[in-house]
Symmetry: C2
DNA sequence: CGGGATCCCTTAGGATACTG
DNA sequence: CAGTATCCTAAGGGATCCCG
């Protein structure tokens, strides 16, 4: 028995042996946004040591959670279908964790992939379906995302772009995703669309 | 910044800082079954060192996930409402983990609390609601549980007791919870009730 | 006896540098 | 760019001991 095994035969134990190691679910979180290269993962997890990232990627492959897909020359990591089944769990952790998150500490950063998952967590498909299709160019503590909402569909991509409204805010994204729009600066477009954003993205109380 | 922090401001990260440490979610799993004493937790997690259990209990208290309730003389640990919100996540991990669980290895055990959560994971309230109320006395690799199903309600308690049917099986509980009843020995009651059990408890494919 | 605390040792993880 | 290699620290594992 490996030292890291928990010694039990049970689903929870098994799941934790597969993805419960430190950094494991954060790698899954980022891969839920899309396939990523080694360097992109390292950028999204700034404090992960490179040897740990390499070790986790190997383990997650062996566990059948991710796979390497060598496309042309660059190596991409992506979730397997089994790994993608973790999405509701990761979003559930996100919901639960946000509830006890208070003000950001200075050294804490907001990465694009984490912000994308936060937006998915807060997304209200029913509310969105009742509103006109809208695109938002959001700057969250420096990370720029292009957010397109069309009916109950949400699409978030990195980088800037033209949108119906552009706004930016600091790291206090929990406020923004809870309907508190003080501190949001509109830099282009119709400021009234901010309300639509607040209706579309709302973390559970 | 604590060394164990991930350095990100985000819900998933926060959740993992609260309950993502080794053994953390297994303690939560067992407390989902009911309040437990220190020794009971230690019994249910046979490989956890006592200093780690003590440390985790302190951390989970500080995180607002569990609380001590000093009742008469004995100390009980129980989940706070915030901690109880983890139930769907733990059951989700259970579902996901069971999918890749293969045959039990010899040294792996099935504890009563883990088995109770496995039963909750597999429980089909809709199917149960359409069947008569039934009680099952199950022996799973030596751990005895009294399982009472009444409409869409499930109640599992430790220990033996009289039930409509009594059966026992080895550690291959994934088979039993997947409709494969070979290897199940009926020791009392109407063997035809086994089918009802199989309809009531069924892990997702 | 329940609820831990202490000790020692092993191993995983963090920081940094380096290589194909 | 995609990892290895190295060194060191801190967390976890195992056994034992302590205290009310």
């Amino acid at each position: 028995m490996a030292a890291r095994d928990y010694g039990q035969y049970d689903g929870v134990t098994r799941a934790l042996e597969l993805v419960g190691e430190r950094w494991g679910l954060l790698i899954v979180r980022d891969l839920l946004v899309g396939p990523r290269r080694y360097g992109e993962l390292a950028d999204g997890l700034p404090r992960i040591p490179s040897n740990i990232l390499a070790a986790r990627l190997k383990e997650l492959q062996a566990a059948g959670v991710i796979r390497r897909l060598p496309r042309s020359r660059i190596i991409l990591y992506e979730l397997t279908p089994y790994g993608r089944e973790l999405e509701p769990l990761v979003l559930g952790l996100s919901t639960w964790g946000f509830k006890s998150l208070d003000e950001p500490r200075g050294e804490q950063i907001v990465t694009p992939d984490a912000m994308t998952i936060a937006l998915r967590t807060a997304f209200q498909p029913d509310a969105a379906a009742a509103l006109p299709a809208t695109s938002y160019a959001g700057g969250f503590a420096g990370t720029e995302l292009l957010i397109r909402v069309d009916g109950p569909e949400l699409d978030v991509t990195g980088g800037e772009g033209t949108a119906d409204i552009a706004f930016e805010t600091d790291a206090r994204i929990k406020h923004v995703l809870s309907g508190d729009l003080t501190g949001v600066r509109v830099t282009a477009g119709d400021a009234r669309l901010l309300d639509r954003f607040a209706q579309t993205f709302r973390l559970a109380a």
